[in-house]
């Protein structure tokens, strides 16, 4: 069996000394009613790097992701214990400004959820709430976001049409564009590529790679090769516990825990 404290790479420890951490999770427990969904998670997220969360369905990846911008607050009978510091601020402090937090920590959901509005308005939505811009400035942001999400060429001639008419792969890129438009510092991506064809998927990975020069990204993916390709650090979670976290290269070439090995090589547990 596995020890209580999962291993973290020395690289991460060095990083924490260097204080370039975007988020620090310590002793996090999450309950849905009486049921424990996350069990004592502690991990560091390095700024301007990509951290991947992998693990079997139902292990708690989305639950963990939602903790980073307190989206679990919206779920009845979901209780969070422990601490998450983002840019050295305890986001579960009672005085935390949640609106500001969610602007700083953007989220792309597992199931694309476009608003029943035009393509343009979907992307402009958050920006409008946040600041007063000229229509030219707003158009520029929408164009930049759609381009960054590799959707621009497909929709540039029909920005006024309903977003609900887009294919699911297009909707997925649309919600990524929407998240990018408000320029968050941390971007949470929950299975962003699950509806994408291989080329769009590679474009998205390329985008993630570009974005990490300015943003911190936490990505949940079931695609192990994708985690191996895009992330700098990988955390393996199983049944609500952090089994192992390491730099992605070591985790995929010689994981320290048997459970990790079994999972990434497709063996029975």
């Amino acid at each position: 069996m596995q020890s209580e404290s999962a291993t973290q790479s020395s690289l991460l420890q060095e990083a924490s000394l260097a204080k370039d951490l975007a988020a620090v999770v310590s002793g996090l427990h999450v309950y849905y009613g009486q049921r424990l969904a996350l069990d004592n998670i502690s991990l560091d997220v390095r700024e301007k790097h990509v951290t991947a969360l992998i693990g079997p369905s139902g292990c708690g990846k989305s639950t963990l992701l939602r903790c980073f911008n307190r989206l679990n607050d919206l779920i009845d009978d979901c209780h969070v214990q422990g601490q998450i510091r983002i840019f050295n601020r305890n986001i579960y402090h009672p005085d935390e400004d949640i609106v500001a937090l969610r602007r700083q920590v953007g989220m792309v959901f597992q199931r694309p959820n476009p608003f029943p509005k035009s393509i343009f308005d979907n992307v402009a939505y958050g920006v409008r709430l946040q600041q007063k811009l000229s229509s030219r400035e707003l158009r520029e942001i929408v164009r930049w976001s759609l381009k960054a999400a590799a959707l621009w060429d497909e929709v540039k001639d029909r920005l006024d049409e309903s977003a609900l008419q887009l294919s699911s792969g297009q909707q997925q890129r649309l919600v990524i564009a929407r998240a990018l438009a408000v320029k968050p510092k941390v971007l949470l991506l929950d299975e962003p590529a699950s509806n994408l064809d291989p080329i769009s998927m590679l474009k998205l990975e390329e985008l993630i790679n570009e974005l990490k020069t300015n943003y911190t990204i936490i990505i949940v993916t079931h695609n192990m090769q994708q985690a191996a390709r895009v992330s700098d650090y990988t955390a393996f979670i199983d049944q609500g516990r952090l089994i192992e976290m390491a730099d992605t290269r070591s985790l995929f070439t010689h994981p320290q825990q048997k459970q990790t090995e079994d999972y990434i090589t497709g063996r029975y547990g």
């Binding site: 995929f252 070439t253 048997k258 090995e261 079994d262």
Partner: protein
């Protein structure tokens, strides 16, 4: 962490990895027998056996190509990770060392010459036999360790190369003495020199295989690390 090939959810994948392993063992068995036969041919000046050895080398090369193609296919279709990835990478290095050992055996066979028979002093003949035994046992044992994916054994085997090197030095010294004492021995001594040089290289290759095996089982690259450090 012990390495098990047969616990994938995909049974077809288990079978593919198992097949690669048994192919490597088959290739290894062939190489081992080539080595045995080439040394026998040399010591007994059996030229027809020597020709047989030279002709059989093609089969080893062919196996290397086949196994290599299977490794490439697994990489393309399965995207192996962790121990599976190390197995595939390790196997593709191991078979290249095996193929080179096959080449050295062929070289030893080529040195076989009827003239050798009369000219080789009996105790030199025994020395060569002893050195060949060291090399052959080392190869045999490393293949056996591979069959069991046993890194501890591989570490012990890797160190035996030193004994072969020492034997190589002592035999070459003696050969030089013969040549100095009697110029008529020069052609024979040179042929033997080439053959023991090949045996010495086989020891190096067997050590490489042991190191690849340690890497594929444990995930540590032990090449260029002094063996004494590893044993501590």
């Amino acid at each position: 962490m012990s390495l098990k090939l047969n616990q994938h959810i995909s049974r077809e994948y288990n079978a593919e990895l198992e097949r690669i392993r048994s192919q490597v063992l088959r290739m290894g068995g062939l190489v081992e027998s080539q080595l045995t036969q080439s040394v026998r041919a040399l010591r007994k000046a059996d030229t027809s056996l020597a020709v047989e050895v030279q002709n059989a080398d093609g089969r080893i090369n062919q196996l290397e190509v086949e196994i290599d193609a299977e490794c490439t296919e697994i990489v393309a279709r399965r995207q192996p990770a962790a121990s599976d990835l190390r197995l595939i990478m390790g196997v593709s290095k191991i078979i290249s060392d095996l193929e080179r050992i096959g080449d050295e055996a062929k070289r030893i066979a080529k040195m076989t010459n009827t003239d050798l028979a009369g000219h080789l002093p009996e105790h030199m003949n025994m020395e060569i036999g002893y050195m060949a035994d060291l090399a052959r046992t080392m190869l045999h044992d490393v293949l056996d360790a591979f069959a069991r994916l046993d890194a501890d054994d591989a570490l012990e085997i890797a160190q035996r190369d030193r004994q072969i090197d020492l034997k190589y030095e002592s035999i070459t010294r003696q050969l030089i003495t013969y040549m100095v004492q009697d110029v008529k021995t020069i052609p024979t001594a040179l042929a033997v020199m080439w053959a023991v040089r090949s045996l010495e290289r086989i020891g190096d290759r067997a050590q490489n295989i042991a190191e690849h095996l340690i890497y594929l089982v444990r995930g540590e690259d032990v090449r260029h690390v002094p063996l004494d450090d590893l044993l501590q």
